[in-house]
Amino acid sequence: MVSLLPTPHPKERRIIFGNISKPGYSPDIETYLAHGGYESLKKALGMKPNEIIDMVKAANLRGRGGAGFPAGAKWSFIKYDDGKPHYIVVNADESEPGTFKDRYILHQDPHQLIEGLAIAAFATNVHLSYIYIRCEFPKAAKIVWEAIKEAKAKGFLGKNILGTGFDLDIYVHQGAGAYICGEETSLLESLEGKRPYPRIKPPYFPAVLGLYMKPTIVNNVETICHVKHILAMGPEEYAKMGTPGDGGTRTMCVSGDVQRPGFYEIPCGGVTLGELINDVCGGLKPGRTLKAVIPGGSSAKVLRAGETFKMKVKGPDGQMVEKEVPLLDLVMDASTLQAAGTMVGSGGVMIMDDTRDMVWALNNLNQFYAHESCGQCTPCREGSLWMSKVTTRIIDEGARPDDAKNLKNIADNIAGRTVCAFGEACSWPTQSFLAKFPDEFEKRVK
């Protein structure tokens, strides 16, 4: 397993990984308590639920699962006193290529998640919660179950938590073994024991018609873990670590052609892409040059070395000015990457150097998406496999003159027309690889 640097890089700020990297730290509850565990929960239980939601809002915590939705806003969709059961479901289905942080957290520090979850549940009037863990993470499931048992034994879960009258039960549910189970509505279907087909939205927004058609919050593992720290640090302090609108730290999973791939917990917007590659990750391999970066998991649009981006940035006088920003100067936060036409997504940063063949790389992604399309809706079901067949054929036999044009059109016919965001996830690579690396496709034409 990839692990953390023994001592944090100066650009890092370890909150989520704060304890994990300490020598001798283990996932059991005694260790957790010895490191100040469950203090945030105690604090939360003495607060008003809406005060907690306001804190999460003020912390500018964005979802770490991919879509980057503000967590506080998501929670406030739930009407505390509507008389219906509410649920929180933790999305631990982590399977986006390039993303590998959640498993590490589950293995190393499960109580952090349970504490965050108990706080979130208290804030939103939830008494039953599920942690949906990827099928291929059986060990994580075992560890989390064990942690739940421990927490229950200590009165942090179950009936009348710490004498406050608040009840919460948490169950681990092992996933159904498909990437699509990570899409939140598909996850809920799967949790209900059905085939994990994403639901149409509208009308099935989880906050309205979620698990068992009841108001439900789905949050990523890391998102929920942050909640504990927001309570511990206070929202201002927490927010200040990041940029406006993207508070706190974000775990970056760096993979590919750098000297030191791995996890880095970095304040949101705390590094530029150049700093991340050259400074934090020790640079490229000797003699290599940068070719491409996928900054937020496999679904994020690819960026090309040498590109520049027109965007509004704060000038020295505090005024916003339009500027050409080179790739390596892109700040790694939600709004900057969005302005660059891509996204921070799940924090999976994939670095590709000049030894990489972009057609091969696209084909690799296309094969993944063709294999993982759930098959429910026409454009994605048929289009993802078609794109993958075309790129495979280009590699095996060379390209036909109209392949690039057709590929782009296939992707255009998928994106924005499907049941779930997998449609975008599977078409963005093709759209962006073709836009950014047309030369590599032209070269293949026979």
Partner: protein, 544 residues
């Protein structure tokens, strides 16, 4: 009824530039269709849940532009200005809303449809020349109307199972399946027999029955009707006839008291298939397989095709047979004569049967009741289709067992049997043999017909017109799809002729006239005509 209904709130929706009003809660797709804008669709079915999976019904939508204080911005025409959405939206799942706009044929919408059509066809086997669905296939229809006409697909198609025997009456071709899930949803939501599902993922998704299960439910053939393509076909119908040769006749099922509304598909006097016809008040869009398949006897070798008079040259002529029947029946002691009619007869026939009894002064008459255990859905607890009519017209007297007993004992010496087998009514063949007169009218040879002094071959339900009253008191119409075989004649004419032969003229020359006379004599039918009954029937208020 309309006076008491609570008024439904109406909302204003702009459809392709024109403002229209629809009741709140209307599906956008329905609103568009009501406005004359056809929206192609595969997975949407008004009677099933909405998965929104085919993506064929994508349209451009917009919501009213709002001022910062949430008031709609009005345009020069006083109507809300519409902020068009960045992405197309499926019209099958959306509901109309105040100030909403929809574009059903913009360039983007056309692009979307072309895209979906192309996707649906790339892995489709394109075996239309040997596919039974050809002619009523949505894939064919929409690709002509909304498709590109050419494919850019150069790769190998996905291979899937073909000719899969998934049930007693159904064959599945997985390569033709477009995964709309209609059949799955029907089995879950309507038949409550969850045997269908998808296996595998992505383009390899394959419709299948659950291991160890079969699609043998008595409603299974409805999946064939709603399958928009040729993936599910009926073993009974497949390869028998191209659908474009079929003549369609709207009529009703007569296999039980529900009276499912149906369409008969026939060609040149042969019925090839029966499909349900939508009637919200009766059968929604569905019907049981056992009833749908209950037509093969129409073409059976046992059909009676010519009149017969016992002891005379066969076949007989109609004039001779009717005269022979009258001779046998006239001048008898009415107390020693009985008439058994059938609650499978139409109202018009029952009315004339009642007249026949009157003309002969017979008081011993009844119909054979067929109580049965229904299925709680469309098979009713009544095995007869027109018990309602028999009761209304006074034919159901409850005397049948008494009649049977007196035939057995020899007290009754003459019997008229219309459309039933006297043996089913508790009369032995021995007793039938001893009768002095037995006039039988019916469509199939049975245990009664060999003993009849006169046999009058009549028409089956698909061969004639008339009305029946179902268990809920709804009067519905039969229509004629095919001609009766051989010399067989329409029942009402035979009965009229018999009445005439035994008691003089009664002057009815058409079935409309029979209905008119019947209606004038029957309070519950007052003011009705056959044409007013219409294709969907009418609810009667019947005497309790």
């Amino acid at each position: 009824m309309s006076e008491t209904a609570t008024p439904v709130a109406m909302v204003n929706v702009q459809v392709d530039g024109e403002w229209k009003q629809f009741p709140k809660g209307t599906r956008l797709i329905e609103a568009c269709m009501k406005s004359g804008k056809f929206i192609p669709h595969y997975c949407y079915h008004p009677k099933l849940s909405t998965p929104g999976n085919c993506r064929m019904c994508l349209v451009e939508t917009g919501r009213p532009k709002m001022t910062p204080d949430r008031q709609p911005v009005l345009g020069a025409d006083g109507r809300p200005e519409i902020a068009w959405g960045p992405k197309p939206e499926i019209s099958c799942a959306a509901e109309v809303a105040e100030g909403m706009g929809v574009r059903t044929s913009s360039p983007l919408v056309e692009e979307c449809r072309k895209g979906v059509m192309e996707f649906l066809l790339i892995n489709h086997p394109l075996d239309c020349p040997i596919c039974d669905q050809a002619g009523e296939c949505r894939l064919q229809e929409f690709s002509v109307e909304f498709g590109k006409g050419e494919s850019r697909f150069r790769e190998e198609k996905v291979k899937k199972p073909k000719r899969v025997d998934i049930g007693e009456r159904i064959v599945l071709d997985d390569e033709r399946c477009i995964m709309c899930s209609r059949c799955i949803r029907f089995m879950q939501e309507v038949a409550h027999d969850d045997v269908l599902g998808f296996l595998n993922r992505g383009s390899h998704t394959t419709l299948s029955v659950y291991p160890g299960k079969r699609l043998d439910n008595n409603y299974s053939l409805n999946t064939v009707d709603i399958c928009p393509v040729g993936a599910l076909t009926s073993k009974d119908f497949r390869f028998k006839m191209r659908v474009w040769f079929l003549k369609e006749t709207q009529t009703i099922d007569v296999s039980c008291g529900t009276g499912c509304n149906i369409v008969i598909g026939s060609r040149e006097n042969i019925v090839y298939r029966i499909t349900p016809r939508e009637n919200e008040e009766v059968n929604s869009c569905w019907m049981p397989d056992s009833h749908r398949m209950n037509f093969h006897y129409l073409h059976s070798d046992e059909r009676l095709v010519s009149p017969l008079v016992k002891g005379e040259e066969a076949p007989s002529k109609w004039t001779r047979a009717l005269a022979g029947a009258a001779e046998k029946l006239q001048g008898r002691d009415p107390a020693k004569t009985a008439l058994i009619a059938s609650a499978r007869m139409t109202n018009e026939e029952l009315f004339l049967a009642r007249r026949l009894a009157s003309a002969l002064k017979i008081e011993n008459f009844d119909v054979l009741l067929r109580p049965q255990k229904g299925d709680g859905f469309l098979i009713s607890d009544d095995g007869n289709p027109n018990t309602g009519g028999a009761k209304l017209l006074g034919l159901a007297t409850g005397k049948l067992s008494e009649i049977a007993r007196r035939v057995e004992s020899g007290e009754i010496t003459a019997l008229i049997v219309l459309g039933e087998d006297a043996v089913d009514c508790g009369i032995s063949e021995g007793a039938l043999k001893k009768l002095e007169a037995l006039v039988f009218a019916g469509i199939l040879a049975n245990k009664t017909s060999p003993h009849a002094s006169v046999v009058l071959p009549t028409s089956a339900w698909a061969e004639k017109r008339g009305t029946m009253i179902n268990i809920k008191g709804r009067i519905q119409r039969l229509n004629q799809a095919i001609q009766p075989p051989g010399q067989a004649r329409d029942d009402w004419e035979v009965l009229r002729d018999l009445v005439q032969a035994v008691g003089g003229s009664n002057g009815v020359y058409s079935i409309e006239e029979v209905f008119k006379v019947m209606a004038s004599e029957t309070p519950a039918l007052q003011g009705l005509t056959i044409s007013r009954v219409g294709d969907l029937g009418l609810q009667l208020s019947l005497p309790a």
